[in-house]
């Protein structure tokens, strides 16, 4: 069985979120493409929260950001259908 990357990483309650991107209704690959573009516009150290409802994206986006050297701060369900993924920009 493949090891899935859907482990919940609780988003720290005192974490400051700098920007949100609502990706509900979007599917891969645009979930990552759009969030990556938004992160590129942000400053190093800032955090971006992705709101997702496409389950493969909840796997793929954190993995993709990790592979790009960014920090995945949190992966957490919001409700039965939606997830929040928080990424901190570590480099341009």
């Amino acid at each position: 069985m493949a090891e899935l990357d859907l482990t919940v990483i609780p988003v720290p309650t005192d974490l400051s979120i700098d920007e949100d991107i609502d990706l509900r209704g979007e599917v891969c690959p645009y979930t990552f493409v759009k969030s990556k573009l938004q992160l590129e516009e942000m400053e190093v150290g800032q955090t971006l929260r992705l709101i997702l409802d496409h389950l493969p994206a909840v796997d793929n986006c954190p993995r993709s950001f990790k592979n790009e050297g960014q920090e995945v701060v949190g992966v957490q369900p919001i409700n039965d259908d939606e997830w929040a993924v928080v990424v901190r920009k570590l480099h341009d």
């Binding site: 493949a2 891969c28 690959p29 493969p56």
Partner: protein, 273 residues
């Protein structure tokens, strides 16, 4: 509109406009709820493709099982005999995913609106912002197992060479230069035809012509008599190429919906770069 061997799978806006009042014609907007609320084709029911996946499956992009699909399609007012016309507002990625799920569950009369709502709007046709209310219906899904490829099916296809593997991700993903799983690369033996290469049109989304698409796949040794398994990262782009191959008259096509999101995260499975 160009001609394709399976032209019935591509619905023109003229045909839809002329047949909208037919109660057997059901229009489905596959986008998210927000964009549906902004403007949609009158009478279209909103069925976001993100709602089609089974959250309990270990394969994240696996569609719901039949009993749940019966509810989802039934709540959308669909019946087995309906002529279903699907659209989105992009290059039909979402529409293709729903198209694949409908074929997976045995729906016979389903097509994608050529140019989607983008063409509909460009032609100044009527739109609505009122959510379409439908009466729930009885929908009986019948799983077409040959439309779905599992990890085991792919392993068997590699060993027996019984099917061609078509990787529809970008060349960088295929080569492993860009990875969205624990490792990069591709399934051994897979040919790479990026799904974006099937797209034509400028302002209005379109597919390339029959001739252009045939040449594209012919270059990697595919033809309509072959059995083909498409895959990508999470089964959406793979559904798009699945649709394109069906449009070209391929009968034996399946979507490995687990795709590289499953394969690339499992170190026990073989991979190439």
């Amino acid at each position: 509109m160009p001609s394709y061997p399976n032209i019935d799978l591509l619905i023109s806006t003229d045909w839809l406009a002329a047949n909208q009042s037919n109660p057997s014609v059901k229009v489905v907007d596959a986008r998210g709820a927000q964009r549906y609320a902004e403007a949609h084709i009158p009478g279209a029911f909103n069925l976001p493709v993100a709602r089609l996946d089974d959250p309990t499956s270990p394969v994240r992009s696996m569609p719901h099982p039949a009993e749940r699909i019966a509810q989802v399609f039934g709540n959308a007012g669909l019946t087995n005999d309906d002529i279903i016309v699907i659209y989105d507002d992009g290059p039909s990625l979402m529409a293709s995913r729903l198209f694949w799920v409908l074929e997976l569950y045995g729906h016979q009369k389903v097509g994608i609106l050529d140019g989607g709502i983008t063409r509909w709007l460009a032609e100044n046709r009527e739109i609505s912002r009122e959510a379409t209310q439908v009466q729930a219906s009885a929908y009986i899904p019948t799983l077409q197992r040959n439309r779905l490829a599992t990890r085991e099916d792919v392993k068997a296809a590699i060993e027996s060479k019984s099917a061609a593997l078509l990787d529809v991700r970008s060349p960088a993903e295929y080569s492993g230069a860009e990875a969205h799983s624990a490792r990069g690369g591709h399934i051994p033996g897979a040919k790479n035809v990026n799904w974006e290469q099937t797209l034509g049109g400028m302002n209005i989304p379109a597919f390339k012509t029959d001739k252009e698409l045939t040449e594209l796949y012919d270059a990697v040794g595919l033809s309509p008599d072959k059995t083909v398994i498409t895959y990508c990262q999470g089964g959406v782009r793979a559904a798009h190429s699945y649709y394109v191959l069906r449009l070209l008259g391929y009968d034996n096509v399946s979507n490995y919906t687990g795709s590289w999101g499953e394969w690339g995260n499992d170190p026990s499975l073989p991979a190439e770069k």
